[in-house]
Symmetry: C2
Subunit: 245 residues, 2 copies
């Protein structure tokens, strides 16, 4: 059986990887991933064959992984965070569904700590209640769909986790998101922005929805916006679960 691991490596430091993720890498002949992620785990893959390439090469990367696995190699495809959240798990299964027979492969998805959960841990406890996760990238999703989801998130008083909040070519969506959410949420709603969570260059900003457009946000940032009960205490953002204390 052709063995293919799709491995969520968590935020990027060894400490926040799972034992399963490390074991999958150790068990593999070939490791495949985006350059940046391969760099994060390079101490774990010494001596193994590595296939890495740049952004937006996801389809090529997954096709190559499946092809190499079909030749009898044990292959790991790595994603940062959780491989099942905007990661490579879906694409691997989509390609096998379309071009191969699913029964020829033993695909194991290894879950990991998401960027949202890592960022939340650094910020305190903002995700203690119902939340939505939305990517602001319009590369694979129409902006109208994203915009509708932001409205729904606002109407539902959800905590909001934003992935891909900004890139060099998409600078305005974060401001549009702020405008939409201000229709439903107070400008005082706490906002936390974590860049490069648990990596050497980690940085944290604690602000409010009203001030979000004045914050530094880039493609390495995760943005968490509270619900109507979220508050800030010192360096922490806290969303009450509802207990009487």
């Amino acid at each position: 059986m052709n063995k293919l691991y799709v491995v969520g490596i968590g935020p990027g430091n060894r400490e926040n990887m799972t034992f399963s993720a490390v074991n999958a890498l150790k068990d593999s002949d070939i490791i495949i991933g985006y350059n940046t992620y391969i760099d994060l785990i390079k101490d774990l893959i010494g001596g193994k064959q590595v296939v890495s390439n740049g952004m937006r090469k996801e389809v090529d990367r997954c096709k190559e992984a499946i092809e190499l696995a079909s030749k009898g190699n044990t292959v790991s495809v790595v994603s940062s965070g959780d491989a099942g959240v905007y990661g490579m798990a879906g694409l691997i299964l989509e390609i096998i569904s379309k071009e191969y027979s699913m029964s020829d492969f033993d695909v194991q998805i290894i879950p990991g700590v998401t960027a949202g959960n890592s960022s939340a841990a650094i910020l305190g406890a903002p995700l203690m209640h119902d939340y939505v996760t939305i990517s602001l990238s319009d590369w694979l999703t129409k902006w109208e769909t994203i915009e509708n989801r932001i409205h729904c998130a606002g109407k539902g008083d959800f905590i909001v986790v934003l992935y891909n909040p900004k890139s060099k070519s998409r600078t305005e969506y974060i401001n549009k998101t702020q405008e939409i959410l201000l229709q439903y949420k107070s400008p005082d709603t706490p906002v936390g922005i974590v860049r490069s969570a648990f990596r050497e260059d980690q940085s944290v900003q604690i602000s409010t929805l009203g001030e979000l457009s004045n914050c530094d946000v880039d493609m390495f940032s995760t943005v968490i916006i509270g619900n109507s009960k979220t508050y800030i205490n010192g360096k922490y953002i806290i969303t009450p679960r509802g207990y009487s204390i």
Copy 2:
């Protein structure tokens, strides 16, 4: 400085814990948690003082943890999944905010693999696009709030992850959720139900939204309901991210 870890232990098996979680437990004098979770990690805590108690004792448990830490003990409070998602991270910070001085404590939140992410990995790749996480427990949240959020999740064509879908005293909310989502989603929408993910008694059901009321769901289950593009292939549920393949 009084040291307090709030540790997400992931789904419950050692392999899906992070190194940070294991290190925090090893570094602690006292481990505190709900009986079921303490049982899951008992091989890691031999020889340490353990304080465990039953469901709905969360406030007592956290107050005791903080009190023990304030006396100079290093204490770990454990939650299953991620401590920051319906876990103990918020309550610990809330109680310290209210009754102590935050600056007297070194609180470290250790993120973990959530029940949603574990279940998704077992089901294939259902969470590959924007999703909401909703708890159906009305113990701490009014049903009207939950109901509104389910409507918003439906209107936004989000993938939906349901925590606490059913208990002995709350048997109807999962059926109400089905009814509401059927106003927005097709009855053919794939549904995956994972019980006790990655534990010895793990079980998996793959079904559809139209059939959800006929599925076995209990308090140990996580339910994932797809978006309009989600499909089933064999034993996998796949939500396309939008790549052309």
